[in-house]
């Protein structure tokens, strides 16, 4: 947790917003990776190579894409711990929602007998 004493002092040159600016080359590389992953998703779907498992592969790819976007484009790599915690919390709470309500939907058809 951020200690109030640990705020970067905002005076002089020690707080310089330009020092962590991205390099265009790095951003382009990330961009190309995301595009490439999208092409993979498209290919997986249109070729039908993976059959029933296509969905899971596609969602895995989308997750990687979103992760890359978050880490590089959204500067998660530069953020403080609270920001990372916030991002993880949103994912964790979504998982709570999915896992617990799937516990109902995945087991409803299982008939209980005496």
């Amino acid at each position: 947790m951020a200690d109030p004493h640990s705020h970067p002092p905002a005076h002089g040159t020690s707080y310089d917003v330009t020092k962590d600016a991205d390099t265009p080359g790095g951003l382009f590389a990330v961009y190309l990776v995301v595009l490439l992953l999208f092409a993979t998703t498209f290919f997986v779907s249109s070729s039908g190579v993976l059959g029933r498992y296509a969905l899971f592969v596609q969602l895995a790819i989308a997750t990687v894409q979103a992760g890359v976007v978050a880490y590089y484009f959204m500067h998660l790599r530069q953020g403080d711990r609270v920001v990372t915690l916030t991002a993880l919390a949103s994912v964790f709470w979504t998982l709570i929602l999915f896992v617990l309500f799937m516990s109902d939907y995945m087991t409803r058809h299982r008939v209980v007998t005496g």
């Binding site: 947790m1 951020a2 309500f101 516990s103 109902d104 087991t107 409803r108 299982r110």
Partner: protein, 593 residues
């Protein structure tokens, strides 16, 4: 003066005598512009808190009137006073107004707004404009809600279950849904503001371990507001779309599952009851320490149990749905998880009780409300266990047992907590003291009226009488009559503060900066506080934890003034060491248990 540093209080520079009254701030936040526009355009968190206070008080009256209609009608067993339709609309109005427009904003948006920046030593919340926007958004939501009510009302119950709400109901469901949806954004804005403020704007020395427990509980509350509200928002959108287009995601006609709505709805609405009750916990921790002159027993247990409730509270929503047709296995899982949330609540009650041990207890109105809170909340909490237990919930679900249970928690717990907080911080907010006698009378009447209202409902609930029933078997009439009689007493109890609190603004004794001799940073500032809360030149620097009543120092390390109550400065209990430099600084920490 003999300054003796206590090694346990880190960084205490040395004891100073009780501070002199800070010079009257110029101007204080109330005097900083008196025009209506200066209020409507304010970005001062304290003024926004007051705006919320006025708004939700009006809502409380409206919701109370609706409750009165419901109770009145139940005096007859055949819906002899209102038509069934009017009754349905009345209880829906009561539920929607009280839950979404009163309980959820009550403590976070009124007391939280006012106090969080002051308690952590900040000049304002992190996003003052967002804060003002949240009030306007809340008003817009309220306008939609009022539109729904004036337009004939809603008859679906506050839970809005489809397919009744999407197909069956002939009432103004859509404006009501829009109102709730919009007010949800206001709740998110408040929560987000408080979270960022607590993370980023604490005064020097205000570490997480020194945060007042009210801040901890509001932090936990805000977490729920932030992460739960969006789910109900999307759910209400889906519901609205289905209502408007006649086909949608919960529609069983095309293979949709109405139980899905219940899942998504309760994913928010169950944690939402913790939005309502957690701030009350915070108030209790503040008040009970102050009026027993003790450190809180088990600071970390109380703080972390709030966080525990906030997280675990998201894991058990489906205990509202045990007989709704969810899977057998899922029901077992959710019942198991529901038991988990009872544990942190129990921890809190035990710690509060232990705090009183060997205290020096006085019984002004805030303390009376808090004692009422602990008793009623305990009853509400343990009756919740019957509903979390699968075998007993089958019978008790959707009966008056449930109604009594959540009123014990929401009204007995939360409203009393809110009243305690309002009475505790009223001198800080307004600079005036209210009538001590009348406030104690009102607390007593509310607690007695409350018991009479809701204890009979446990009984008829145990007999299986369903809720939302204007017609019921005649043999249960006597219990409903008792309940209505209790509700009248309860109403009277609420009426008294509605008189003496406003009157105190004109006739009340002027309050000093720290009338209760409390330790929080908010009491270091004059009453009412200046616009930026603290003297611009000397922003607070915190040196110790929040409840050093035994040592008699506040969080700035200064001695406390004499507390009010029997045996003032002259009395036998007077200067014998409640506060001041007479010796408490040498006090050793005692070990019990």
């Amino acid at each position: 003066m003999t300054p003796t540093a206590n090694p346990r209080v880190q960084g205490v520079p040395g004891l100073t005598p009780p501070p002199p009254e800070p010079p009257p701030a110029s101007p204080n936040y109330l005097e900083n512009g008196t025009s209506l526009w200066s209020w409507l355009s304010t970005v001062d968190h304290k003024r926004i808190g007051i705006l919320y206070l006025l708004t939700i008080s009006a809502v409380f009256v409206l919701g109370g009137v609706a409750a009165g209609l419901v109770r009145l009608n139940l005096v007859t067993y055949n819906s002899g006073i209102l038509s069934e339709d009017a009754y349905n609309r009345a209880f829906t109005a009561h539920g929607v107004l009280m839950l979404f427009f009163f309980l959820i904003p009550a403590v976070p948006a009124v007391l939280g707004n006012f106090l969080i920046p002051m308690m952590i030593g900040a000049k304002d919340l992190a996003f003052p404009k967002l804060n003002l926007a949240s009030w306007y958004v809340f008003l817009v939501g309220l306008v939609f809600g009022a539109w729904a009510i004036l337009n004939g009302g809603i008859d679906t119950g506050w839970t809005l279950y489809p397919p009744y709400s999407t197909r069956g109901s002939q009432s103004s469901v859509v404006p009501g849904v829009v109102g709730v949806f919009v007010s949800g954004f206001s709740s998110i804005m408040t929560g987000l503001n408080i979270l960022v403020t607590v993370h980023k704007m604490r005064a020097p020395g205000m570490t997480w371990g020194r945060l007042p427990l009210f801040v901890w509980s509001l932090y936990a509350t805000s977490l729920i507001q932030l992460l739960g509200t969006p789910v109900v928002a999307i759910t209400l959108i889906l519901l609205g779309v289905e209502r408007v287009t006649g086909e949608g995601i919960f529609d069983p006609a095309i293979g949709g599952d109405p139980v899905l709505f219940q899942h998504l709805f309760w994913f928010y609405s169950h944690p939402a009851v913790y939005i309502m009750i957690l701030p009350g916990f915070g108030v209790v921790s503040e008040v009970i320490t102050c009026f027993s002159r003790k450190n809180i027993f088990g600071y970390h247990a109380v703080a972390w149990s709030s966080m525990g409730i906030a997280v675990v509270g998201f894991l058990l929503w489906a205990h509202h749905m045990f007989v709704a047709g969810i899977s057998y296995y899922s029901a077992l899982l959710f019942s198991f998880l529901s038991m988990l949330v009872a544990v942190p609540s129990a921890i809190k009650v035990f710690n509060w009780t232990a705090t009183l041990y060997r205290g020096s207890i006085t019984f002004q109105a805030p303390m009376l409300f808090v004692i009422g809170f602990i008793i009623l909340f305990t009853v509400g909490g343990v009756t919740g266990l019957f509903l979390a237990t699968l075998g007993t919930d089958i019978h008790l679900h959707d009966t008056y047992f449930v109604v009594a249970h959540f009123h014990f928690v929401m009204v007995g717990g939360m409203v009393l907590g809110y009243m305690a907080g309002l009475h505790f911080w009223w001198p800080k907010m307004t600079g005036r003291m209210y009538s001590d006698w009348w406030s104690r009378v009102s607390a007593a009447i509310i607690i007695v009226g409350f018991f009479l209202t809701f204890v009979p409902q446990f009984y008829i609930g145990y007999h299986g009488i369903p809720r939302r029933y204007p017609n019921y078997p005649p043999e249960f009439q006597i219990y409903h009559v008792l309940s209505t009689a209790g509700a009248s007493i309860l109403g009277l109890g609420y009426l008294i503060p509605a008189l003496y609190l406003p009157l105190s603004l004109f006739y009340g004794e002027k309050a000093g900066a720290n009338p209760w001799s409390a330790t929080g940073l908010e009491w270091a500032s004059p009453s009412p506080p200046p616009v930026f809360n603290f003297d611009e030149e000397r922003m607070p620097v915190v040196v110790c934890g929040p409840y050093e009543y035994a040592l008699g120092i506040d969080q700035l390390g200064r001695g406390l003034p004499e507390p009010p109550g029997p045996g003032g400065a002259e009395g036998p209990a007077g200067r014998a060491g409640v506060t001041g430099p007479a010796g408490p600084m040498q006090k050793e920490t005692e070990v019990v248990g």
